[in-house]
Amino acid sequence: MDLRFLVQLGIIGLTFFMLINASALLVYAERKVMGFMQQRYGPYLVGPHGLLQPLADILKLLMKEELRPKGADRWLFTLAPVLAVTAAFAAFATVPWGAETTLFGLLDEPVKLGVSDVNVGVLVVFAITSMGVYGIVLAGWSSNSKYSLMGGLRASAQMISYELSYATALAAVILLAGSLSLRETVDAQAGYWFGFIPQWFIFLQPLGFIIYVIAGVAETNRAPFDFPEAEQELVAGYNTEYSSVRFALFPQAEYINMTTMSAVATDLYLGGWHGPFLPPEYGWIWFLMKVSAILFVYIWVRWTVPRYRYDQLMQFGWKWLFPAAVINLIITAAAVLYFNV
């Protein structure tokens, strides 16, 4: 076994490890940020400043009894959370998170930071995220409860509606980059305009970025678009009947999906690991900072904006977001043709 193969395995393991930890850290960050926004401390007792709170949460959930309603579909009830979390992890497989590195001269040829580099990377991420909805829909259906079923129905309608705007926003970036590979898209954003403005696509696609983020919130089922859960109307929506570890898998999938969304947004719009002051080998620090910034916005929005009404969600998705995305795509296509970038 050669060293390069081992390093590649190590990178894959590290990505997996970071994703698991991202979901735990996000639970902590969410509660802490929510606490500060509501003028209280948030978790404070377990560990310094409540840092070990996620660990306590997970332990608590592990100790709980696993329940399955009598009328539930035995196979699908078990399969649904597994599907949700598998799709969430798999979607990160083609997301690069750092420039090529030789690990300080350890290797002769540089390795790429990221699980794999596929030349249709953007589409693979999109395809696998769109499979994630099955976990939620099946959970809703197999629980044999009306609240869960309503949650599952809402999830499928919402996902279909917002996937369209999401994909159209992506298409504009693909046109600009002239590539379907995420790594090539990031490298197309290196350098500066006039010597100080970084050539990030967010400056060419401000509308596209806003559409992407809004559709991303809807895709990850977070407030103000958390209709599949909507606790005031549906108890807890699709995961009403779940308990213990099976329940824990759903929020985990949600937080990993958030991370993937933010990482893809960083790669597509914010120049990935390119940034001033740091040498390219340390570009992953920029990447982590940008992803954290977007994740903070996600949490911020959740605790600031109240939930829409369901018909408003559909109206907004089809009558505002999608037309805006189409106009953005047409303008981008015309500009790319005119300037021949």
């Binding site: 699908l76 249709v120 589409l123 395809a127 909805v133």
Partner: protein, 176 residues
């Protein structure tokens, strides 16, 4: 060798899943097996060195169309079919009908076999294989030059179907 193994695994999976779709009493399982079948097909496309087609297959069929299928199955809350409860008096379930059905099925098999056997001389348009980016570019170019009539005709067909669906779903006196 390993390539052939992967092919037989994926092909077997696709055929098995498709066959089981028909055999299920529960429509929910049918939908899920169809998704599995589409996934196996996508794997076959990857083996044919057409990653774009594979991903498009997953996005469009497994990701969008099957979600709509699931939505409809859930919305209608379709019950499990019960073999004993079959309505024998229904005109389509009489024995004579099943014989005509068998004949039609045989006809379909013959047609399919004929179509497959006469396909040997067909070649893919130049430049559509290999590297994915160039293949996407080449696909787009052939779609909008050589096959532009078929493309536009399909678009109009889909538009007509969409308008028809809206008209059917619209209630009388509904303004919005």
């Amino acid at each position: 060798m390993s390539e052939a193994l992967v092919f037989y695994f994926l092909a077997g999976l696709a055929i098995m899943a498709s066959a089981l779709v028909i055999g299920q009493r529960n429509p929910m399982y049918s939908v899920l097996l169809l998704i599995a079948s589409f996934g196996a097909l996508a794997g076959l496309y990857i083996q044919l060195d057409a990653p774009f087609v594979a991903v498009a297959q997953i996005i469009i069929y497994a990701g969008a169309i099957m979600v709509l299928f699931l939505f409809v199955v859930m919305l209608l809350n379709a019950p499990q079919e019960d073999a004993a409860g079959w309505d024998r008096s229904h005109p389509l379930r009489r024995p004579g009908m099943s014989r005509i059905g068998a004949l039609l099925a045989l006809l379909l098999v013959v047609q399919l076999a004929w179509a497959v056997l006469s396909m040997s001389g067909v070649e893919a348009p130049a430049g559509t294989g290999g590297d994915a980016v160039s293949s996407v570019r080449a696909l787009g170019r052939t779609l909008f030059t050589d096959y532009v009539f078929a493309f536009e005709a399909t678009s109009i067909l889909i538009l007509v179907a969409m308008i028809g669906a809206v008209m059917l779903a619209r209630r009388e006196g509904d303004e919005a």
